[in-house]
């Protein structure tokens, strides 16, 4: 009867770590978005907005490289986008972590499932999917 008990505790530890990971990710990314937002408003606050028609060419920060280049110029909009990136990668990190935890549990079926999900996300990272 000891084994299921241990298994339960291992699962419990994993759940606590997963929960902390998600919380830290959300708080960190929202802090970055907030700081970027203040900077953005202080520079662009009085300019006009125009979001009536979607124009892909108007968005400057639509790749990870462009976001980093914008951050080096301390552009508030790039910092907001970086915060958004951090947020997007929070659940992705959660998947990576789950893969390792299933590996420790020797549950290889779920290691494979986790790797598969991760691959789908990595494929979506390639620019080629966007027309």
């Amino acid at each position: 009867m000891e084994k299921p008990g241990k298994h339960y505790f291992a699962d419990k530890d994993i759940q606590v770590i997963l929960g902390t990971l998600l919380r830290v990710g959300v708080i960190a990314s929202m802090t970055v978005v907030f700081i970027g937002g203040l900077l953005y408003l202080s520079v662009y606050g009085n300019t006009g907005v125009d979001y009536h028609t979607f124009d892909a060419a108007k968005t400057q920060y639509s790749s990870i490289l462009a976001i980093f280049q914008g951050m080096s110029r301390l552009d508030g909009r790039a910092i907001i986008q970086f915060g958004t990136l951090l947020l997007i990668f929070t659940p992705v990190t959660r998947v990576v972590f789950s893969i390792f935890s299933f590996l420790i549990e020797r549950d290889y079926l779920y290691v494979l499932i986790g790797i598969f999900v991760l691959c789908v996300i990595l494929i979506s990272l390639s620019n080629k999917l966007v027309g």
Binding site: S63, R77, L109
Partner: protein
Amino acid sequence: MSVLLFTIIVLAGAFLAGLVGSLTGLGGGVIIIPLLTLVLGVDIHYAIGASIVSVIATSSGSAAAYVKEGITNIRIGMFLEIATTISAVLGAIVTVYINPGYIAVIFGCILLFSAVMMVRKKVDHSDSDSSGVLANFFKLNGSYPTAEGTVKYGVHNVAGGFVMMFFAGIISGLLGIGSGALKVLAMDNIMRLPFKVSTTTSNFMMGVTAAASAIVYLHRGQIDPGIAMPVTLGVLMGATVGSKILVKTNTDKLKIVFAVVVTFLALQMIYNGLMGKL
């Protein structure tokens, strides 16, 4: 309109959307998109991009709390993520090729469906029959802690649930919402999970599903920092306050009032979509 004014209006609207979304269980995304498009005249593609980012924030935030309680079934979540991530990416790729008017019509229909699901009386179909072949192969049957001790549950119709989740993922990628109503339908009615397990597990999956389509949106330029910033911060703050109030309030009346509002918004979206005004 100046950037500052736009930011303040969107921030306030997103806060309300997050608050009501968490109180009614509808989610912030389905409310913020009509607000941005119908009221502020924002192109629906920008609204979708901003909304999906707020979905990641709220679902990860609440999943953090749920996961620690040990109710979330991580295996069911991971297994169904196979379906939702593929379909979310597909939905996000397709969305830009569809006429914005049609997207608004689809959105309106999902909104109507969500309103019905919100007021409908829920019936718990769960039982402890754990004989399902696929459920055993994928080790999906589980247990969760309640006040009366640990309760075991069996998972039914895994294939049906998987297909429904695929559909939910497409809608999520297409419209930039969490599509919680569809996910709960798959888990409650088809796979027959207990409520607490289905809501927390659907929340757990939402972050990854939304992240998959958000990356596609980001590359396409649909995530504009000027809209995403107030939407995400506002919805997250609203949802956080909402989850604090939720414990102490009975939301039945609120749900009915809100179902009327949502129905009105849905018809407005469908009408404007058909008239080509969006």
